[in-house]
């Protein structure tokens, strides 16, 4: 069983087997390539096609309704191989070559190797430079402003290399039978590839109706638009990919901080220091670096690769995609190994508490912190430095403060030290290694907003949680500096932490209540005095 196509030659419909069609197409294209003058070429081709139709028509009868390879071979035998056609015009060209070598090369656009119009490839062939460099020049020129205009002018001025002879001229190869044959071998392959998708009725250029032509024109317009869109996207990918790659490499192997902009503002981290503070030893550090590079770097390189493909229509080897997948798998395995190790390092958590009782000597205690820079060199930074190092010491801004009701009449401050570790003992050691001291000067309670440990204890989720316990009617003033320090402080009006600062708060039966606030529901100093007096009286009565 053979597949057949329906073709139209000079207005006559034939059924033709696929391989015969391919052979015929190659044959006709070969003939076509021999003629330079396009007007003449069209006419000659129509005449030849008419003759082919005649020969096919003679070959057909009731038994043989399908054109087969033998018929095409018969046509070729009758019409002759194009080499036998040599007329004066074709013969003169090689003769000219010997003494006009340079002029043999002509500037054409290359339709077979094009991104937009084939200008760059044609230009490259003419000046003997690899097309990639010409394209890079155009991309650079595009950003300098004159690229587009130059390209469009060249596009208009340069003719397209349509025939094989023109293509050979473009590349400066001598036009002789051998070279044309060579060029046509590749052409024939291309025809064969395209054939699978081609609408069989398109065989004759005259076959299309007006409507078909319009549809074709619209289709080719959209293809062009889509192509240009693809190029723009490709350029964008190239820039983003290159940028990401530079960032990633600097992040992994640079010692300086890298900045990036996110929703929270500028974020930076000195990756090597950070990793050293996390990983137990250098091996893990290297493994983690490789894992990060594979998991982030490989997709980034893939993006760059894709962009180059989109821009230059470079065909990639099948192995490339497979390699990418392989590297990603390796990266995942490494990340899993390092992650498991880290999880073990962090598996246990221990805490201990220190409590200090303060006699409520003052009506109002002021709670303050420092919002100065942390000591030493920042390692992990967001709005403020989160982690910094100085000498052997490491500082972490993981300190939280909350305010609660005291269970008795005394005012208390408890400081909870906690840390993770590979065992409860290790975790407790690390918690005990935390150096954190608050200060009380008269009515001012000063809490540093960072904790200190030795670097050797690594980053293991060390944390300090302070709770200030207030007896009834004790008031405090939350200094504005504590904005980042206080964490989810319960209060009567459910006021948000950030809005609590810069105000006085008093502990009532109902909870922490704003004192002398105009914009938040609370009580005035006068009311507070009355409440206190009332309580005094109650105590006295009892």
């Amino acid at each position: 069983m053979n597949q057949t196509l329906t073709i139209n030659i000079s207005g006559i419909v034939f059924h033709i087997e696929v391989d015969a069609y391919e052979a015929l197409k190659v044959y006709l294209n070969t003939i076509k390539s021999y003629f330079n003058n396009s007007e003449e070429r069209e006419e000659i081709m129509l005449d030849i096609e008419a003759r082919v139709a005649e020969i096919f028509a003679e070959a057909q009868n009731d038994k043989n309704q399908v054109i087969v390879m033998a018929d095409v071979n018969k046509v070729i035998a009758i019409m002759g191989e194009p080499e036998q056609y040599l007329t004066d015009e074709e013969e003169e060209i090689p003769a000219q070559k010997t003494h006009r070598k340079r002029e043999d090369k002509k500037l054409f656009r290359d339709p077979d190797d094009r991104v937009l119009g084939g200008v760059a490839s044609g230009l490259g062939a003419y000046i003997g430079l690899d097309t990639v460099w010409v394209r890079l020049f155009f991309v650079a020129a595009f950003f300098m402003g004159f690229g587009i205009l130059t390209y469009i002018i060249l596009w208009i001025v340069m003719p397209e290399a349509k025939t094989t002879a023109e293509k050979l001229k473009m590349r400066g190869e001598p036009i002789n039978i051998k070279n044309i044959g060579k060029a046509f071998e590749s052409e024939a392959q291309k025809v064969g590839e395209k054939l699978q998708n081609v609408d069989t009725n398109k065989f004759s250029s005259k076959a299309g109706t007006v409507l078909e032509n319009i549809v074709m024109a619209i289709a080719s317009f959209f293809t062009a638009v889509f192509n240009i869109f693809g190029k723009v996207l490709g350029i964008a990918f190239l820039f983003v990919g290159t940028f990401l790659l530079v960032v990633l490499l600097a992040l992994l192997f640079g010692s300086t901080a890298i900045f990036s902009i996110s929703n929270d503002g500028v974020y930076s981290m000195a990756s090597q220091d950070f990793f050293n503070l996390i990983f137990v030893n250098q091996d893990q550090f290297y493994l983690a670096s490789i894992a990060v590079f594979l998991l982030i770097g490989v997709p980034v390189i893939g993006l760059i690769f894709l962009s180059i493909r989109m821009l230059f229509k470079v065909r990639s080897h099948y192995g490339v995609g497979l390699t990418f997948v392989g590297l990603l798998v390796v990266g995942t395995i490494l990340a899993f190994m390092v992650g498991t190790r880290l999880a073990v390092e962090m598996s246990a958590e221990e805490e201990f508490e220190k409590t200090e009782i303060i006699s409520p000597d003052f009506n109002t205690y002021v709670i303050k912190t420092n919002i100065t820079e942390m000591p030493g060199q920042g390692v992990l930074e967001d709005k403020f430095t989160s982690i910094s190092i100085e000498g052997d010491m490491m500082y972490q801004r993981f300190v939280e403060l909350s305010v609660e009701r005291s269970k008795n009449d005394s005012m208390m401050i408890t400081t909870n030290f906690s840390s993770h570790g590979k065992s409860p003992k290790d975790a407790l050691n690390k918690a005990k290694a935390i150096n954190y001291v608050h200060q009380l000067n008269d009515s001012i309670l000063f809490f540093p907003d960072y904790l200190a440990t030795n670097k050797e204890h690594k980053i293991r989720g060390q944390q300090v949680e302070i709770t200030v316990y207030l007896p009834l009617y004790q008031s405090i003033y939350l200094d504005k500096s504590t904005k980042e320090l206080i964490y989810d402080v319960d209060n009567f009006t459910n006021t948000y932490d950030k809005k609590m600062v810069g105000r006085k708060w008093v502990m009532l039966e109902q909870g922490l209540t704003c004192l002398d606030c105009n914009d938040i529901e609370g009580i005035t100093s006068k009311e507070l005095e009355e409440l206190k007096a009332l309580k005094m009286m109650e105590t006295v009565i009892e």
């Binding site: 030659i9 000079s10 207005g11 006559i12 003939i31 003629f35 003449e40 006419e43 000659i44 005449d47 030849i48 008419a50 003759r51 139709a53 005649e54 028509a57 003679e58 035998a77 009758i78 019409m79 002759g80 191989e81 194009p82 036998q84 056609y85 007329t87």
Partner: protein, 111 residues
């Protein structure tokens, strides 16, 4: 020197003259022209003829008309134009001269 090449050159030189001569006897379509040329072994493959006819036509030496065919696509019937006739006359003269010249060279000289 390649003998086949030289032979082809000689044949090609007279090809245009022969085509014009055939058409001088009346209009014809390519297959008929080819038939006559093949008899004289002037042409081996048909493909040679089509570019030649188109060039002669574009030089205003030939004109053609379409005629429907029962066995295939419509045929182009070529005929000589006035210009073509004059051209043929000149070629005929040249041909006679050539034949005479060749004859002279072939005869042994008597002194």
């Amino acid at each position: 020197m390649n003998i086949e090449n030289t032979q082809a050159q000689m044949r090609k030189g007279v090809l245009e003259y022969c085509i014009l001569s055939i058409l001088n006897n009346g209009e014809a379509y390519p297959s008929e022209i080819i038939e006559q040329l093949k008899q004289g072994k002037l042409i081996v493959v048909e493909g040679t003829l089509y570019p030649l006819l188109t060039r002669l036509k574009n030089a205003d030496l030939l004109s053609y008309r379409w005629e429907e065919s029962t066995s295939g696509p419509p045929r182009k019937y070529y005929q000589l134009t006035d210009k073509g006739k004059k051209f043929l006359e000149e070629l005929a003269t040249t041909w006679d001269d050539l034949v005479a010249a060749v004859e002279i060279t072939r005869k042994p000289t008597k002194k």
